[in-house]
């Protein structure tokens, strides 16, 4: 708690100092932000998605600017689960909630990752990345097929007792159905959305702007889509929802809370402003104070939908 009101929230059993997390792939392994601010002032972060072995990503160009957003096709470049546990995790200060994100091409890989990550007392929760929009196999294959997704969540559920979040892809027809599938399979919470599948072309060179041709769109351009999906999912499931997509400011974050999210993840905004997550956390608190809420947690689902 800081200041007058209670900023703490609980996300799927993970106690957070405030509802702001850094999103996977935009917050490194945490320590990259230590030059900028004390990580204990935000809720925590979801680390870059991990694979069993270290993995290189795509050749350049991997990113490009887009209207009010950016495209990326990094392809889950990461140091692998062993180096994460041995080298990165110990550098995160105590009191910062670290959620580990798992990625694989088969559900057995996800389960093994979850089991290994669960051995560390510093991992507060597991997020299944079932939604990377541009990796050819794995990720989105699970996120777009309800029966594969159910099987994946069940396998990981058996492998860990940690709070289990599933990160959903927006590249589906009925997002609420996918969320209910995860709930039924034993997930403790739903994170959404991952980047929106997209592409862009340079007309001078007549080439796609990304070496991978397809990429994921993130940033403010996707925020209204993300908000709509968070709203639909929070209507459909009882487990908590973590809202992600184009959050640049505290007002943006509040919108997700009002639409039913228990917490939010800040992604692309960290790139342009390494203090974004901190400023958003502080801004949510002052919003709650200004609007007479005793607890930040009371913002969740406080959307007024009566007709005016």
């Amino acid at each position: 708690m800081s200041g007058g009101i209670d900023t703490r929230v609980c996300l799927a059993g993970i106690e957070l100092r405030n509802p702001v997390l850094g999103a996977s792939g935009t917050f490194g392994y945490g320590s990259e932000f230590e030059a900028f601010f004390d990580l204990r002032r935000i809720g925590g972060f979801v680390a870059k998605s991990l694979t069993l072995e270290p993995r290189w990503g795509n050749p350049p160009p991997r990113i490009a600017e887009a209207p009010s957003g950016m495209l990326n096709a990094i392809s889950i470049e990461n140091i692998g689960v062993a180096a994460f546990l041995e080298e990165k995790l110990p550098r995160v200060p105590d009191g910062v909630a670290v959620i580990a994100s798992c990625f694989g091409t088969e559900s057995a890989e996800y389960a093994e990752l979850a089991a290994r990550l669960s051995s560390s007392p510093r991992v507060a929760g597991i997020e299944i990345n079932a939604s990377c929009p541009h990796v050819k196999s794995g990720g989105i294959e699970f996120g777009q097929d309800a029966s594969l997704l159910a099987e994946l969540v069940r396998r990981v559920r058996e492998a860990t007792r940690l709070p289990l979040l599933v990160k959903l892809s927006p590249n589906v027809t009925r997002i609420a159905d996918m969320a209910m599938t995860c709930e039924d399979a034993g997930a403790d919470g739903i994170s959404l959305i991952n980047a929106v599948q997209a592409m862009e072309v340079d007309v001078e060179t007549r080439r796609p702007v990304l070496s991978n041709i397809l990429g994921g769109l993130s940033g403010p351009a996707i925020r209204p889509i993300a908000l709509r999906m968070v709203w639909q999912v929070s209507q459909a499931v009882k487990i908590p929802v973590c809202g992600i997509g184009g959050i640049l400011t505290a007002d943006d974050a509040v919108k997700f809370l009002l639409c039913g999210a228990s917490a939010v993840q800040v992604g692309t905004a960290n790139y342009l402003n390494p203090l974004a997550a901190l400023e958003i956390a502080e801004g949510i608190q002052s919003y709650a104070e200004r609007h007479g809420f005793a607890r930040v947690a009371d913002l969740t689902g406080a959307l007024e939908t009566r007709s005016v």
Partner: protein, 282 residues
């Protein structure tokens, strides 16, 4: 890749104030910023600069900050309020256009200093600095420091005379300055490599000579090949798309000779040219 320079100073995010922002002919502009608590920078380090002046509402389009070399401003702020950073930039798209419209008194967001710059020039060595296009901006401080320690030659190139960046500043240094333009409107008609080749042919001690190149990728690659053919070491300062500048987006990766990739913003922007897999660069 082995890192070449030093990264002594932690970056921070600072709201900088525009002191001056003026056209220098062609599409080139000079921006002078007041940067509170500026810790200083090494030659070759850069900043991420918001794509336009900050307003009450966070700008979402264009979204990404622009990487820009610290042209001058390598000394730490003498007093907390008095840090000063100069940027030379070319208006080439929407972001740099908006930066050029920022008025004195308005604020731009700076994240920096970032990356690893050039290693210190060895005393009694020969330094040949080659800058093309906007790459010139990464070399001024290196040249200014090299003159006291080494025989320093600087080759600056551009398409046409009006595009040459920072020429008068370089001319004020005690260096051997050579200019090339593709249309012959100033100096030698041709490319920077047309000036570099005869310089390298005259090198008597290749092992104590270093080429420092910054500019478009094909130019740097050509400089690296020339240097290699004369057994001269070549350091390059690479340009790549960047979203963050501090190692978290993984967007700026370049293929490394030893396999895999290296981040331009973290292991670079300065690399030994032998560490780069040039054939796999776009």
């Amino acid at each position: 890749m082995t890192s070449t320079g030093r990264d002594s100073r932690l970056p921070s995010r600072i709201d900088a104030q525009v002191l001056e922002n003026r056209s220098e002919g062609g599409n080139n502009h000079r921006l002078v910023l007041s940067v509170p608590d500026w810790p200083g920078a090494e030659p070759g380090q850069f900043i991420m600069l918001s794509a336009g002046a900050r307003a009450a509402v966070e700008r979402s389009d264009p979204l990404l900050p622009r990487p820009m070399a610290v042209y001058r401003g390598h000394a730490p702020a003498a007093e907390p309020a008095a840090g000063r950073v100069e940027v030379l930039y070319r208006v080439s798209g929407r972001g740099t256009q908006l930066i050029s419209e920022a008025l004195p008194g308005q604020r731009l967001r700076v994240v920096g200093p970032l990356g690893r710059g050039f290693p210190e020039v060895e005393s009694d060595a020969s330094a040949v600095l080659v800058g093309g296009g906007t790459g010139v901006a990464s070399l001024y401080e290196l040249a200014a420091r090299a003159v006291a320690r080494a025989r320093t030659t600087v080759v600056l190139g551009a398409r046409t005379a009006a595009d040459l960046m920072g020429r008068d500043d370089f001319a004020g240094l005690d260096i051997d300055l050579q200019i090339t333009t593709e249309d012959g409107s100033s100096g030698l008609r041709g490319l920077v490599t047309d000036a570099l080749a005869p310089l390298l042919r005259r090198v008597s001690r290749p092992s104590s000579t270093t080429v420092y190149a910054c500019g478009p990728t094909p130019m740097m690659r050509a400089c690296a090949e020339l240097a290699e053919s004369h057994a001269v070491r070549c350091l390059v300062s690479l340009e790549n798309n960047m979203a963050c500048g501090f190692g978290v987006c993984l967007g700026c990766a370049v293929p490394a000779r030893r396999g895999g990739f290296a981040l331009v913003c973290q292991s670079g922007p300065v690399f030994d040219s032998n560490d780069v897999r040039w054939q796999d660069l776009p």
